[in-house]
């Protein structure tokens, strides 16, 4: 009788383990494992172009005292922050329109339309922007047609912003729209009832209540822009060396992986701290 009971308990445990374990185990093996190795790697040595497991602080010293690292760090942060602000501001009217001015059916269709670009080749879309912005490209020709002479717009901050907003706008709009849609509509009616005008309702009721979504959207835009290397490479023309370009170049051109690992870890720490700060701010009671 007890053995039967034990057998049943065992099959119950096996059933739940079968479902609970695969993804965590896979991620432990092929995501957590690489991440932990990355930390260890940052202390390794390179001898005669060969990686040698070691425990030395030289990589950290080299990178953290290098002027080029800190200038790339500052540049990456400023670019990502600008893109995040820009995407947030551009997304707000769209998210408001989607959440408040459309029928449920039109809303689903529009949200669907905004989701599609997020999952289509970012590389090719950036290449298309190259065609638009390059010397004698579409934008230059169009401007010339209305009498404005411009040079190539590639390799300018504007080009960077175009690329990064292309990357992040869909995501920010969707996150903002979800948070606006989950707002309690009676809150808005109550504000009108109390005699607030549309502007006051927007700024004193809707936006503060949707703060978690707005902050979260901005955070995602920051994270994605901070890690991107495609826009900086192909629309910035390598003029704007970001941390990602630093890593890509280091890895693709030699064996200095440990130094790249230090840069990568600095990126992760920055993103974690930003995420922590934003989430605290987003859900803080005010």
């Amino acid at each position: 009788m007890t053995s039967l009971l034990q057998a049943r308990r065992l099959s119950k445990t096996a059933y739940s383990a079968l479902w609970s374990l695969p993804l965590p185990v896979w991620l432990a093996g092929f995501f957590l494992g690489p991440m932990v190795l990355l930390i260890w790697l940052s202390f390794w040595d390179v001898k005669n172009f060969l990686l040698t497991p070691d425990f030395q602080l030289e990589n950290w010293q080299k990178i953290l005292t290098a002027g080029y690292f800190w200038s790339a760090y500052a540049r990456t942060a400023v670019i990502a922050a600008s893109a995040s602000v820009l995407a947030t501001l551009a997304a707000l009217p769209c998210a408001l329109a989607i959440s408040f001015f459309l029928s449920p059916r039109a809303r689903m269709v529009l949200l669907g339309l905004f989701v599609v670009p997020f999952f289509t080749s970012y590389l090719v879309r950036i290449y298309s922007w190259q065609i638009y912005l390059t010397e004698n490209g579409i934008v230059m020709k169009l401007m010339a047609a209305i009498g404005i002479e411009t040079g190539s717009l590639l390799n300018t901050p504007l080009a960077l912003m175009v690329g990064l907003v292309t990357l992040t706008l869909p995501l920010v709009i969707v996150i903002q729209a979800i948070s606006l849609l989950s707002l309690d509509r009676t809150l808005i009616d109550a504000a009108y009832n109390l005699g607030c005008g549309p502007r006051r309702v927007l700024f004193a009721t809707v936006l503060p209540a949707a703060r978690p979504g707005i902050v979260l959207g901005a955070l995602f835009a920051f994270i994605f822009s901070f890690g991107d290397f495609v826009t900086a490479t192909y629309l910035g023309g390598g003029k704007f060396t970001t941390l990602s370009i630093l890593i890509a170049d280091t890895v693709k051109s030699g064996q200095q992986w440990p130094r790249a690992a230090v840069v990568a870890l600095m990126m992760i720490v920055t993103l974690l701290l930003t995420a922590l700060a934003s989430i605290t701010y987003a859900y803080r009671r005010s």
Binding site: I131, Y132, I188, I247, I268
Partner: protein, 265 residues
């Protein structure tokens, strides 16, 4: 929200602009893939299929496409299955540290691709996998399974938690109840997740470029083309890529939306 007609029209117009901004690069890419001029700009030249002919004659491109399809067809079922398992486990069981596991499972898409790429490259070369198709498959599963989990978990949140137990209460064993209740309730979202995983795998370029070595997918092929010069051949590959991923995403959306409207009835 009650606002003036002008405000309403202005925001809707702005939304239209945002859509135009997002779709402009996609549309021009199709246009220039069929344009005869070597340098893509306006005014347009004549119509041609030359660029498609060129890339289809390019062995590197063909191999890259073959790899892409092969990888997506292996990655999507595995990532969907694991995403499904995690979503079902979250819906059905309670265990210590569940939230932590969930957050952890949703992390990979949030880590910069170059960072994952570097970490994967170092790790996979330690275990002798880097530079192989399995290396790409392994990393793609890490990158796509969170999407599968999220989309399937969303579906689970709409399913009455008593249903499976009601089936057991009427005599169905664990597995039988799973087969009778969970499969029919989630099959469309599983298919949607499958398509989404294929699309993400299809378009992944960064980690693939890091761990793939000499093995190329179509996205990595585009990356190498980009490093040389502007050429309408990129537009031609790009159009094929766009057409594929847009079909996959629209398919996934159709499945999810149909589910929603069906439930609303």
């Amino acid at each position: 929200m009650r606002v003036s007609r002008t405000t309403r029209r202005l925001t809707l117009a702005f939304t239209g602009l945002a859509l135009a901004f997002l779709y402009a690069p996609i549309l021009t890419n199709f246009v220039f893939s069929l344009n005869s001029d070597r340098f893509p700009t306006i005014p347009l030249g004549g119509f041609t299929l030359e660029w498609y002919r060129l890339i289809l004659a390019d062995a590197l491109v063909i191999d890259a496409f073959k790899n892409t399809v092969k990888i997506a067809l292996i990655v999507a079922p595995i990532a969907t299955a694991m995403g499904f398992a995690a979503a079902y486990a979250d819906y059905r069981f309670n265990f210590i540290g569940k939230r932590l596991v969930l957050v952890f499972a949703l992390m990979p898409p949030l880590i910069p691709l170059v960072v994952i790429g570097l970490a994967m490259l170092a790790y996979l070369s330690r275990i002798g996998l880097s530079g192989t198709l399995p290396a790409i498959v392994v990393s793609h599963i890490v990158l796509t399974s969170p999407f599968a989990m999220a989309i399937i978990r969303l579906r689970f949140s709409q399913i009455d938690g008593d249903l499976e137990f009601a089936a057991q209460n009427l005599g169905a064993s664990n597995w039988r109840a799973f087969w009778e209740i969970i499969i029919p309730s989630t099959k469309t979202s599983v298919l949607a997740a499958f398509l989404l995983c294929m699309a993400v795998s299809f378009d992944e370029y960064a980690v693939t470029w890091f761990v793939g070595g000499l093995e190329e997918t179509s996205s990595v092929r585009i990356l190498s083309f980009l490093q040389s010069a502007v050429s309408p051949r990129i537009n031609a590959i790009g159009s094929i890529t766009f057409a594929t991923s847009i079909s996959l995403i629209l398919g996934a959306q159709f499945l999810v939306l149909r589910r929603l409207t069906k439930d609303a009835k």
